[in-house]
């Protein structure tokens, strides 16, 4: 957990960016018993435009509360990608909603990119609004930072009971998609073009 401990989740306001970060932080701190600090970007951009939340995971209490260069960046919109991708740490992991994000040259070296059609998966499950939970499952499988069970428990605790089943299904779909993807490795640069064709 020490080497990859700073995470940023970003997207449009309304995509569930904050809930996604809450699930990650809750899983690490409440379920697994480690330390997590989550902060959100408050400001005009939180009302409709790019929305982002940061989580710092640690084995000891977190001191400095802000993330400047995340190890993992989860983006669900093009605007969020353009704004935050340059801040990713070299060698960091970039997770994209592949139907909503077009990769345009990666500035940080050796970035590992993984994509998932989270919105389409969410629609197939029954509700577009659970795309953030699909992304959270995908995040869990790719990074391996937090156990599947802990994340699943945190999802369960963070959503209204009437939507619990739907969200758990969304989580599992994202996680399973991630496991499959992990086996085939990160996307090659040539595959980004392929990704963007689906737009």
């Amino acid at each position: 957990m020490q080497s990859l401990n700073e995470i940023r989740v970003a997207g449009f306001g309304g995509q569930g960016v904050i809930l996604s970060a809450i699930v990650i932080g809750k899983a690490a701190s409440i379920v697994e018993g480690n330390f997590a600090t989550m902060t959100q970007n408050f400001g005009p951009e939180a009302r409709g435009g790019a929305c982002s939340a940061q989580v710092i995971l640690s084995n000891s209490p977190v001191l400095y509360p802000y993330v400047t260069h995340p190890d993992v960046l989860v983006v669900m919109s093009q605007e969020a990608y353009l704004r935050f991708a340059p801040e990713l740490k070299p060698g960091g992991i970039l997770l994209i909603e592949q139907d909503l994000v077009r990769i345009k040259g990666l500035s940080p070296a050796e970035t590992r990119v993984y994509g998932i059609p989270a919105t389409r998966i969410a629609e197939q499950i029954g509700k577009r609004m659970v795309l953030n939970v699909v992304m959270t499952g995908f995040f869990g499988a790719i990074t391996g930072l937090i156990s599947r069970e802990a994340l699943r428990k945190a999802v369960e605790d963070s959503v209204p009971s009437s939507f619990r089943e739907l969200n758990l299904k969304a989580f599992d779909s994202g996680y399973d998609y991630g496991l499959q993807h992990l086996e085939s490795g990160a996307l090659e640069a040539s595959e980004f073009e392929e990704v963007t064709v689906r737009e």
């Binding site: 600090t37 408050f42 802000y66």
Partner: protein, 385 residues
């Protein structure tokens, strides 16, 4: 006395500082809040409005902060524990009624989630620039108590402490968050109700005919009564005698105002909470509070790695100012380093209490974000040289 289990959400939660402060207030027994929501403090009352019906409490959204800050005092005299919540511009409007609470010895709690100022300033971004206002903002001579949490956990713990102090000393007590602490989400452990110590209101045991509203007990603090219980209650902001009746004479002013001061200052050692680490044998001591204490910790750790003998003093109680601990440390070190998210407020107190026995170096910041730890590190290295 222990907390009422009805208001205590025992367990581990992932909460932001604002929500944790609200849970602290409810655990402490607060059953009334009035407020005029303002960023970045809104979440406190938002949660209270939602939680109040489940604990038999009331929340009133007022027309402004003047109304909020006096309504809570009416509720207190009606017998409940009450608080209000605000930030910079709203806090400025509350000043008149803070003086009223001090003069009438009305136990109540104000939660101020500090944002950048002056005026409307930076609504969504942090500062620690109300630290002098909280002490001196209302006119006249009076004392208050102000506490500075640096995590959501402390927002819970210190809000309880604030209510306890307010009942014990009958003063307005302030929980001085900053936007970062207010909006940061972390693990908050809420203990079982029987492990939470609560200071109950000190209602008089005297019969109405023997009772005088402002007759101080042994600890210099008068006992309270509740409106409607048959006691004579005359509560006024005018200088008053022990019955509470106006007595606007120099001798009465001398007795009353000096007691308002001494009931706090004579107990300063009990009220002043702080965290002291590696101060013995240190060359430099970093004095900080609130979110800045966490940023400073990183600088302190970095300085230690470079072999500098640096200690830390984290102020949990800002007011009354912990004069004794500063004046004891001063002659033993090369200097204090005081980072804060303002252009120099508590640093003046550190300097005053150091009394010329050591250097005091400020690391100012106009607010809007936290310090770069490097700026604090550089000040430590410079003083250690």
């Amino acid at each position: 006395m222990h907390a009422d289990p009805q208001g205590v959400l025992t367990g581990a939660h992932f909460l932001d500082g604002d929500h944790a402060a609200c849970e602290g207030a409810i655990a402490a027994g607060a059953r009334f809040a009035a407020g005029y929501p303002i960023t970045p403090s809104t979440e406190v009352v938002e949660r209270f409005a939602m939680r109040a019906p489940t604990v038999g409490g009331t929340f009133i959204q007022m027309e402004d902060e003047l109304a909020a800050s006096i309504t809570i005092q009416g509720a207190v005299w009606g017998g409940v524990k009450a608080f209000t919540v605000t930030s910079g511009p709203g806090f400025s409007l509350m000043m008149e009624h803070i003086g009223y609470a001090a003069m009438t010895e009305t136990p109540c709690v104000f939660i101020n989630v500090q944002r950048g100022g002056p005026s409307t300033g930076l609504p969504t971004l942090p500062a620690q620039a109300d630290m002098m206002q909280v002490r001196w903002g209302s006119h006249g001579d009076y004392e208050i108590i102000a506490l500075c949490p640096n995590s959501p956990q402390e927002c819970f713990d210190l809000t309880i402490k604030a209510f306890n102090f307010s009942e014990q000393y009958r003063v307005p007590v302030f929980v001085m968050l900053d936007e970062v602490v207010g909006h940061m989400t972390e693990k908050v452990i809420i203990p079982p109700a029987e492990e939470i110590e609560i200071e109950p209101r000190h209602f008089t045991k005297k019969a109405p005919k023997d009772f005088r509203l402002y007759e101080p007990e042994a600890n210099q603090v008068p006992d309270m009564v509740k409106a409607g219980d048959g006691y004579n209650i005359h509560v006024t902001g005018l200088t008053h005698d022990q019955r509470g009746y106006p007595d606007m004479t120099p001798p009465m002013q001398d007795v009353l105002v000096k007691r308002l001061q001494s009931k706090i200052l004579d107990n300063a050692d009990k009220i002043c909470l702080f965290e002291k680490e590696n101060v013995e044998g240190a060359d430099v001591v970093v004095v900080s509070y609130g979110i800045t204490s966490r940023v400073a910790q990183r600088a302190v750790d970095q300085a230690r790695e470079k072999g500098v003998k640096v200690g830390k003093l984290r102020l949990i109680t800002a007011w009354p100012f912990p004069e004794r601990v500063i004046s004891e440390i001063a002659p033993t070190i090369k200097g204090f380093v005081v980072p804060e998210l303002n252009l120099g407020q508590m640093v003046r107190e550190v300097e005053r209490c150091a009394g010329g026995k050591t250097r005091t170096v400020r690391v100012s910041h106009a607010g809007g974000t936290v310090h770069n730890p490097e700026s604090i590190l550089n000040a430590i290295l410079e003083v250690a040289r």
